[in-house]
Structure formats: C-alpha cells, structure tokens
C-alpha cells in the first residue's frame, strides 16, 4: 500500500498536523507544530525531555485536545476527541509505561482493551497468529506477572496490532529492552513498514533512529527545529539539532592506578525480598579502588534499587563484613555512619527519596549532610541548632559549581526542573569530596546538557582518587564514563568487564542473564 495519489500527482500524507499548539497555563508545551507522516514510513520524533514530544503525541492520539491547529487524517480534517476515536480512525499507541495487570494472562489483558467483546479463545488464537506473523512470540495463556519486560512490551504491541491500525505510535520502546531484544523489535517494525503501516517512533537514542527511521522531526522547546533524513545525518548532528548547540564531550583521561586498595567492597551480599514488589539479591560481590568507575547495567527492576539501599545502609546487612567502606566493616551501621566513613549516595528517585519535595534547597542540603558536616551546619552543642547562614552559603556554592538554574533564592526542591534538581543533588554530595559515591540512574529524565555536566563531574571525582559506582539503564552513558561494566539480572551481579573488552553485544548478553564471565578479567 502506498499513499493515495491525488489528481495532480502529489501524495496525500497519512497524517498531517498543521500549526498544532497546546498551552498549559503559561507554558506553551507545543507551539505551532507541523508534522507530516507518509504511508509506510517510520518517522522519528526526536527531542529532549520537555521538548513537547509527549504532548504532541497525546494530541494526535486524542488524549489531549489542542489549543489550536488542525489534524488531517488521510487528507480529511478530524478533531480527535478521545483515544477511542483515535483507535477507530486507525491510530494505535504503545505507551512507555505498560498498562497490564500482573494477575491476568496475556490474552485476558488483551481482551480488556478491545472495544468489541470476543471469546477468550478467539483472542488467544488471533494473538498467537499476529505474534507469529510479526516475530512477537508470546504465550497468550501466560500470566503477565511471570513475563519479562520485553515480553510485556510484545503484548502491548500485539494488543495494538489487533486493532489493525494504519499508524502505530511507539513511545521510547527500547528504553526497557536489552540490545538483543531491541534488535528483535526492529525486525518487527521493519516488517510492519514493508506492509505499508506507518510508525511514529519516539526516542532519544540517536543511533537506533539513524538505523531504523526514514524521516525525523526534531522538537526543541515545543517547536519544530528541523526535519531530516536521519540516515544522512550523524548522531552528533542530530544531537546538535535536539540540544541547540554542541554537546559537551566527556573528557576521560586514562585511570592512573596510584594504589589498588579497594575503597568500597561488597562481599557475598544476599537478601530476601523485602516486600511483594521487591527483588531478592543473590551473592553480590564487587570491589572498587580509588580512581575507578564501575558501571552497573541492567533492565529496570532487576534489583538495582535493592542493591543501592543495601550499599547505602538504608537497609542493613546481617554481617558487618558484607559491606566494607575504606577498609571498615560497615554492614551493620546506618547510612549516616557510612557517610561519615566517606561514602556518598544519590538515589534514583529525586523527589521523595533524595529530596523532600516541599522543602527548600537549604533544608534538602541539610538532609544528607547533617551528620558528616555537623561542625559546619549545626551550632549550639547538644541543642543542634541549624545554622541557616552556613547552609545558605554552601547551597550557593553548589548552585554555582553545578550550574543549577532556579527561579528563586531558595526554592522548594519540587520547583526545580528534573535536570536542575539532579545537578543540585549530585553537587550536594560532590561538595564534600566523598571517597566513595554510589549513584543510581544519574541522568534519568535529565536533559542532555545537564547529563553531560553530571557525567563529567563523576569522571572528575573518580580521577581525583574516589571510587564511583554508577547504576544506569542508559548503556551509552555507561560506555561513556565507566572503567568497568557489570550487569544486574534477577538480583545477581555479573563479573565486571573492563571497558576495553566490552561491547554492546556482550553487555546485552550479560543483561539477558547469559554467562558473560568467559574471558572476563
């Protein structure tokens, strides 16, 4: 199937948006966006966090109403008032966060989303058929709770394909997949394209966009700043379009091994799950010397959060020697005492874990520093009076150091954008020159400029002699800054592999649970 040809020979696009604008309060989330998607093309929608991608897509799908502008579908103007209407037109969407019930089978989950009622057997048969046709193997009778993230995504895609859509919108589909699973997904998408289906592919992973997509529309601050054929671009030129200027390239001098005394060690850490949504940890060991960055890769939910809490001391271990910080057994002491030994921690969740949302920056500075910097921030002896003035000057120093942009002198943490708050929280720890720092998802949801600054700061800290652990789902990030990479899967940590010997393929296998120790150091 190709696009319909009009009498004068020009092609009518499958979907055409003209001057789409969406205003939330004073914020123009989308500002006069033009978008054309042809039949049988994979169209990339690129942009940083907050560029307006999600808002745009929600308007196309009918989940949001545009403030102004028009949407034409197969040449006819439409007002898409609801997702149900979007679906009936032939627009399907696969969300980044799945909406599946763990306690139901794949087929039952699919049945729930269908507008018409069909018997479960029929649905299971159709799901199996579609799965075979498009290379999306899934057992319709399996409980979703038992399936991997990749398999759950397949159910979402099958659910979408059952509606027989002409346009499929995929929101960051590879962010939860291993490289191997992503390759399988690309095969499916190419197959769909060959059948004349169109795909709107939202991603910030430039390499895969270059490999897969026919055209790309780049958004920045709610406006279209470029349209191009990504195959003729380089990742750097695409990134420049997204960010508006050149991205800082991380400078990484080779590590100098002054001493090889480990600053942080984990020895045989095992832990039972602490609740219904918690992952058990099995026999995790690691050891990092000063000057080194260990990257821990893994798909979300494989025990990274549990590992972080075990190392930080938010959860204590049964034996003291399980966690050792600078040669001291620390398994039975809490987070404050571990900080006093020279360790620092930055959790994944910024609001509500690393910071209290409705507390000011100075209060949030005190949050993680009250025990290590008692002399600076607390006066009055046993009364422990909070010294607002020294907190304010320390906060100011961090704000300058990390280039934190804020609207008020001492705003609440929740008033900062994700990137700026993360810069502050990393700066809060770097400000005291920790010997050990453990960071979980350092640049999750952070714009490219802030991400580069954060990564550089971590590299600089390591090169000044500290031990750094970075837990991240972003493989590009890990390859950029790590000296060694290990992977977490099902609560186990693989052997770490030196960065020189590491490849995308190998880390993918490790994330999938394949034994990658062969040849590892």
């Amino acid at each position: 199937m190709t696009g319909t040809i009009t009498k004068d020979g020009s092609e009518i696009p499958l979907l055409e948006a003209e001057k789409l604008t969406k205003i939330f309060g004073t914020l123009k989330a989308c500002d006069g966006i033009d978008l054309k998607i042809g039949a049988g093309e994979i169209h990339a929608l690129l942009g940083e966090n907050g560029a307006g991608k999600s808002t745009l897509v929600k308007m196309l799908f009918g989940a949001l109403q545009p403030t102004s502008g028009d949407i034409a579908w197969k040449g006819e103007r439409f007002t898409v008032t609801s997702p149900a209407m979007g679906r009936s037109l032939g627009i399907g969407m696969v969300f980044q966060h799945f909406s599946l019930f763990d306690a139901l089978t794949a087929a039952e989950n699919i049945a729930l989303s269908l507008d018409e009622k069909s018997p479960l057997d029929t649905i299971a048969a159709r799901a199996r058929e579609i799965g075979q046709t498009y290379g999306l193997p899934v057992d319709p009778d399996a409980l979703v709770g038992d399936l991997s993230v990749g398999e759950r995504q397949r159910i979402e895609i099958i659910r979408c394909l059952l509606q027989n859509p002409d346009l499929i919108i995929l929101d960051e589909p590879t962010s939860v997949l291993t490289p191997q699973e992503a390759d399988l997904l690309f095969v499916t998408l190419e197959r769909l394209r060959s059948e004349g289906k169109s795909i709107l592919y939202i991603s910030h992973r430039l390499e895969e966009v270059r490999r897969l997509c026919d055209r790309a529309t780049v958004l920045r601050h709610g406006k279209v700043v470029g349209q191009c054929d990504p195959r003729t671009q380089t990742a750097a030129s695409l990134a420049r379009m997204m960010v508006g200027n050149d991205i800082h390239v991380i400078e990484r001098l080779p590590a100098e091994w002054t001493d090889r005394i480990p600053l942080i060690e984990v020895n045989g850490l095992s832990q039972r799950p602490r609740g219904p949504f918690s992952v058990a940890l099995h026999d995790i060991s690691l050891s990092i010397t000063g000057g080194e960055i260990l990257g821990i890769a893994g798909v979300a939910g494989n025990g990274q959060g549990e590992l972080f809490e075990a190392i930080s001391g938010e959860v204590l271990q049964e034996r003291p020697q399980v966690v050792r910080i600078r040669g001291t057994d620390a398994g039975r002491i809490g987070i404050s005492a571990r900080r006093t030994l020279g360790a620092a921690f930055v959790p994944e969740e910024r609001l509500g874990h690393g910071a209290v949302p409705d507390m000011s920056l100075t209060n949030n500075l005190l949050l993680s520093r009250h025990s290590t910097d008692r002399k600076m921030f607390l006066t009055g002896g046993v009364l422990k009076l909070v010294s607002e003035s020294s907190l304010a000057s320390a906060a100011k120093r961090i704000v300058v150091q990390m280039d934190v942009r804020k609207s008020a002198e001492n705003p609440d943490a929740s008033a900062l954008s994700g990137g700026n708050l993360q810069k502050f929280l990393i700066g809060r720890e770097l400000d005291r020159n920790p010997s050990v720092i453990v960071v979980n998802q350092p640049t999750w949801g952070v714009d490219a400029g802030a991400a580069a600054l954060i990564r550089q700061a971590l590299v600089d800290l390591a090169r000044s002699g500290s031990a750094v652990i970075v837990i991240s789902q972003d493989l590009d990030e890990l390859f950029e800054i790590s000296d060694r990479i290990a992977a977490m899967v099902h609560g186990r940590l693989s052997e770490s592999v030196p960065i020189e010997a590491m490849t995308m393929e190998r880390v993918g296998l490790m994330m999938g649970g394949a034994d990658a120790t062969a040849g590892a150091a």
Partner: protein, 364 residues
C-alpha cells in the same frame, strides 16, 4: 454521568494559607447563626452570649485561661505527633493517666507535705502520661499497629480505670460515699496566678512555656528538622539517616508528657481532687486546637484560647438561652470541619468531570 474529582492545585495561594483559620472561624460563626435560627433563637444575641459575653468580665477571663491551659499543653504535644505523621488520638487517655499518676502523693500519702510535693506531682503526672503514650508507640513500631485505633481505645481504658479507682480504692472514707478522693492538701494545690481576681492557675504559664520551647525545637533545631522530614517523606527521612521508629517514640513521649502535665495541672490547679471524670474532652478538643493553630505551637496558643471560649460560651448559652452546653461540642466539630475543608481547598480544587472528557482521559 457526572463524576466529582479532587485535583491537586499546581500552586497554592500563600495569602489564603495564612487566612485559612480566620475563614474557618468566620464560616463557623455563620453556621452557628443558622443553627441558632433553626432552634428559634435570635442568632445575633445567641452569638453574643456565646462568644462575647464571656470576655466582658474578669472572673470569666480567668475561667478562659483555666480552660485554655490544658488545651494548649495537649495541642502543643499533638503538633509534634501530627507533624511527624504519628496520629495520636489518645491524648484524653494520657491526660487522665497523668492526672492519676500525679495524684498518688496527695491521695495515698496525704501526710507527706512540703514545697517539694508539687514538683514531684507534676513530674509524676508527666511520667504517667508518657508511660501511657508508650503503649501505642510500642505497638506501632514493633507490630505496625495503627496508632489511631490503639491510642483511641486506650482512652476508654483510662476513663474506666479512673472511674473504678475513684469509686473503689481511692474513695474518700469521709466523703459520704461520693465518688471522689480526699481534697488535696494546700501543698498539693497548683496555686492561682492572681489569687485576688480569679482562679487561673500556673498551668497556663506552663502551657505558654511549653509552647515556646516546642516552637523553638521545631523551627530551629535538627530535631525539629527530623520531625518535619519524616512527617513529609519517610523514605527521604530514611535516606537522611533518621529513624522513623525512634521518632515515633519521641513524638508519643513528648505529647504524652504534655498531656499528663495538663492532667495533673487540671486536677491540682482547677479541681483539687480526683473525680470520676476530670476532663470535658480536653484531649479530643486539643486535636482541633492543634489544627486550628496550623500545628504551630505559637498559633496553638491563640487557637487554644478560641476553643476555650467555646466551652465558656456553651455554659453561658445554657444559662441565658437554655441550650444544652453540649452545643459547645457542635461548635468545636464545625470549626474542625471548616479548618480541614479550607486547608484542603487551598491545596486541591474540585473538578466535575462529565462523561465525555472522562473517556478522553482513559487512554492517557
């Protein structure tokens, strides 16, 4: 089909946050006026005798301070609990426990006299309230029991225990079988501040001191910071290295001590003996005081005076209007309702969703 949703406001108005207690009081007056009209009374004169008349005479201002003292003491302790997310609803029980423990000396050892009797009584009162508050704290920390239920149920235990004590072992043998203990000796009586003009006792001064000390602790010290952090986000509190269990004990002990102090101050300063009932619900009314005072100890001083006025107004209304003094409870309930409602509406707005936009939201 319509559906009503409560949606968080992106920003809340600072002006209305400050005005909220006053808006609540104003709405309470309007609701009261309506209530009086329905009862067939002239609302203006009813409100006058309820809220103005008690303030026109010196002796009744003394009564106001007598009633405000326990309310402020208890509510200051409760503010520590509520700010740290510990929902102590059992201050009434801790008040009674304090009253009983503090009365051990004058009731069991009436011959033991001297200047030191009163300080020991006050300390015993605090200890009694603390011990009683430890029970729900322990149950919460050890067994994750809901402290609202346990602390509330312990109120009834304390009330019945006091009743049994006063009718049984502690009854005054020379008291013509009235369920009362002996009258306390002079050295066991908390003296009046200005004995010439009325009976306001030093319990009120203790309340002001407690409010200022707790205010200082909350606003200036690391301990106060810990309370606020753990109250807002237990996970961030754990990250900060603060222990939620330790703070639960601390909050219950502080509020138990202050409720116990209020109990013995009431018994020794206002009553002079133990009776089967020593509180017209101070421990529950203090919850309203705490919220009306915005959980700020200095605000609680003002709120305590307002709620004390409602007790006096209830008595005045019974005399001059023939309305039951229980109408004070109604006023107190109305105040709490409006305080919570205005606070909620500052942070949330109500949205009515029609069927059409509801389907639009489904896929989002």
């Amino acid at each position: 089909m319509m559906r009503i949703e409560i949606v968080k406001r992106p920003q809340h108005s600072v002006l209305f946050s400050a005005l909220s207690p006053f808006i609540a009081l104003f709405l309470t007056l309007i609701a009261g006026a309506i209530l009086f009209s329905v009862l067939g009374k002239n609302p203006i004169s009813a409100l006058y005798s309820y809220f103005i008349e008690p303030l026109t005479e010196v002796w009744s201002i003394h009564e106001l301070l007598v009633k405000a003292a326990p309310l402020i003491l208890i509510a200051v302790g409760l503010s520590v609990c509520f700010l740290s997310n510990n929902w102590n609803i059992g201050a009434e029980g801790q008040f009674i426990a304090g009253g009983i423990a503090g009365s051990i000396l004058p009731v069991v050892f009436p011959d033991f006299q001297g200047w030191y009797v009163l300080p020991i009584m006050l300390l015993l009162g605090m200890a009694g309230g603390m011990a009683y508050a430890t029970i729900p704290a322990f149950l919460k920390v050890r067994f994750n029991t809901n402290e609202i239920l346990t602390s509330l149920m312990l109120v009834y235990v304390a009330q019945l225990f006091l009743d049994w004590l006063v009718r049984g072992p502690w009854r005054n043998p020379q008291g013509y079988n009235f369920p009362e203990t002996v009258q306390f000796s002079d050295s066991a009586i908390l003296p009046a501040i200005w004995p010439d003009s009325g009976r306001a006792h030093w319990g009120f001064a203790l309340a002001i001191i407690a409010a200022v000390v707790v205010w200082f602790m909350l606003s200036r010290t690391l301990n106060g910071f810990e309370i606020k952090v753990l109250g807002r986000s237990s996970r961030a509190g754990r990250f900060a290295g603060f222990s939620a269990g330790r703070l639960t004990f601390f909050a219950f002990l502080v509020s138990g001590a202050l409720a116990g102090l209020a109990g013995i101050a009431e018994v020794s300063g206002a009553v002079g003996q133990l009776r089967t009932s020593i509180s017209p619900g101070y421990g529950f009314t203090a919850i309203i005081v705490a919220f009306l005072g915005r959980l700020n100890p200095l605000g609680i001083i003002a709120a305590g005076l307002v709620l004390a006025l409602s007790y006096l107004g209830g008595e005045a209304a019974q005399i001059s209007l023939g309305i039951s003094e229980k109408s004070a409870r109604i006023f107190q309930g109305i105040i709490l309702f409006f305080v919570l409602a205005s606070d909620s509406l500052i942070y949330y707005r109500i949205r009515i969703v029609s069927r059409l936009s509801e389907t639009a939201l489904k896929g989002a």
